[in-house]
């Protein structure tokens, strides 16, 4: 291994060390009791001891997030194509979409729980709603920015608008769709967690609420860290997967 590689590795670990040090310093300097802010060591210990419990709840959350992400991406993709195909649809639906964005998603959580129950359904719906707009907006934006030269080529060739959409606009806009889905991968866990806070008996959000209520702050932090790591891993995996898909696609 060369020096440069060592240096890079060191620089990669450094932020983690810095964050942990600041955290530990806050605990020491503030002389904080364990139920207010446990130190990193205490959280690590809890993380290890409660790993089965945390994993069980994490699996529930992950399932909700993945289901919401897939449904949201599919629905957002179809909506964007539909909106791109029809100017009338754009006129009718775009203002509604913009209006719904002004509604805080949090406010919808109770009603979704009422409609879809305490199980995964309401959480998946929550994740779906929170990612639907970024996916649709990002894809639709790309669909309306097709290279004008390609559109002119298609026009001279005598293509119908629908064939232009299918053969040129959609493939050309896939990178835009991909960036929407990548963003969605970060938002989706937020939706699932909100849903779990409002009403659930399983999932990381539920576990965090439960731990908080019983003053098991270390467990709360352990669940929070797992949630953050899950989100990062998901973002990375979705990004890598999409990159690979687009590469094979030649775009």
């Amino acid at each position: 291994m060369t020096r440069a590689v060592w240096m890079r590795g060191l620089l990669g670990v450094a932020p983690v060390v810095l964050a942990l040090s600041l955290w530990q310093a806050a605990v020491w300097l503030g002389d904080l009791p364990r139920f207010i802010l446990p130190g990193p060591a205490a959280v690590a210990q809890t993380l290890w001891h409660s790993r089965a419990l945390i994993a069980e709840h994490a699996l529930v959350t992950l399932t909700e997030v993945l289901a919401g992400l897939m449904l949201g991406a599919a629905l957002g993709g179809v909506s964007a194509i539909g909106l791109a195909a029809s100017a009338l649809a754009r006129r009718l639906v775009q203002p509604i979409l913009v209006f719904t964005q002004a509604v805080p998603v949090f406010a919808l959580a109770p009603i979704l729980t009422l409609w879809f129950g305490y199980g995964m359904g309401s959480k998946i719906a929550m994740a779906l709603i929170i990612i639907y707009f970024p996916v649709t907006a990002s894809f639709l934006d790309a669909l309306t920015r097709t290279h004008p030269g390609w559109l002119e080529l298609a026009r001279v060739m005598g293509a119908s608008p629908l064939r232009v959409l299918w053969h040129i606009r959609v493939p050309a806009a896939l990178p835009g769709f991909a960036s929407g889905v990548k963003l969605a991968a970060v938002y989706a866990p937020i939706g699932a967690i909100i849903g779990e806070w409002v009403g659930a008996s399983r999932g990381l959000g539920y576990l965090m609420l439960l731990a908080n209520g019983r003053a098991k702050t270390d467990l709360m932090f352990a669940a929070l860290i797992v949630l953050a790591l899950l989100t990062l891993a998901l973002h990375w995996a979705v990004g890598a997967g999409l990159r690979r898909m687009l590469q094979r696609y030649g775009a």
């Binding site: 002119e152 080529l153 001279v156 060739m157 005598g158 493939p171 030649g250």
Partner: protein, 266 residues
């Protein structure tokens, strides 16, 4: 092949600025008409008008013959996600017609790229990409073919080969070729037009069928004539000769302050 003649009479503005005109251009049916001129004088604009892409062009005048055309734009416009072969057959797919992969492969063979049929355009050089765009245009079975500097990215030998091939495959069609290369115009034009900042001018072509031999004396002489008309070579009496086409511009009232200024290199 019942190819129509092309005709354009009029003036064109883009975004309130005069691009060309008033001018009158006739391209006879079934012939090669070459439109030669420096950059920015409106050659591509004329092709776009014939191709029905005049949305952004304020054209005041008459246009005829433009119907079913094939256009090879200055840009190759290859779709990066499609293979070379799929790019060549794009037209059929966009019209929902049966794709004749065999015929497309044959044209690719003729432009020397059959072995690259499965590659993506991104893996090709500029000259190869231009040949794929040429193959795509030649595969479009249209009575009128508009070519905008179709050989500009090719080396001299490949260019001559592609010119020969294009003449062969487009026999009987009405072809309007835009170029800034006098040698190309002298070699390929049944009819030659020069478009400069001063207006449009028809120049007699050399004798003989096209494609004319590259080193032919008559072709070289025509090439020299074209260069003179372009203003690249000063000759005796060029002053009076150059002044003549300028007259129409002054007869017509200027629509805006900058209209009479030399255009092109903006």
């Amino acid at each position: 092949m019942n190819a129509p003649a092309l005709a354009l009479h009029g003036t064109a503005h883009i975004a309130g600025r005069l691009v060309f005109g008033p001018l009158s251009l006739n391209a006879p049916a079934g012939c090669w008409t070459c439109l030669l001129g420096p950059s920015g004088v409106g050659k591509s604009t004329i092709l776009r008008l014939f191709a029905g892409l005049g949305d952004g062009i304020a054209f005041d005048g008459a246009l005829s013959g433009a119907g079913q055309v094939a256009l090879m734009a200055q840009d190759d416009l290859l779709l990066p996600w499609l293979s070379v072969l799929d790019n060549v057959t794009l037209g059929a797919r966009l019209r929902g017609q049966a794709v004749d992969g065999g015929a497309a492969l044959q044209v690719l063979e003729r432009v020397g790229l059959a072995d690259r049929a499965g590659d993506r355009p991104g893996d090709l050089s500029g000259g190869q990409r231009q040949r794929v765009a040429l193959a795509r245009t030649l595969t479009e079975d249209r009575p009128v073919v508009l070519l905008d500097e179709p050989f500009s990215a090719l080396d001299a030998r490949t260019r001559a080969q592609m010119q020969d091939l294009t003449v062969e495959l487009l026999t009987g069609r009405t072809v309007l070729l835009v170029t800034h290369d006098p040698a190309e115009a002298a070699r390929l034009g049944h009819v030659l037009f020069i478009l400069t900042e001063d207006g449009l001018q028809e120049v007699p072509p050399p004798d003989g069928p096209i494609p004319r031999p590259v080193g032919d004396a008559a072709v070289l002489a025509a090439q020299a004539r074209l260069l003179t008309h372009l203003g690249a070579v000063p000759v005796a009496g060029a002053g009076t000769r150059g002044a003549a086409p300028r007259a129409p511009r002054d007869i017509f009232p200027k629509k805006e302050p900058g209209a009479g200024l030399p255009r092109g290199r903006r």
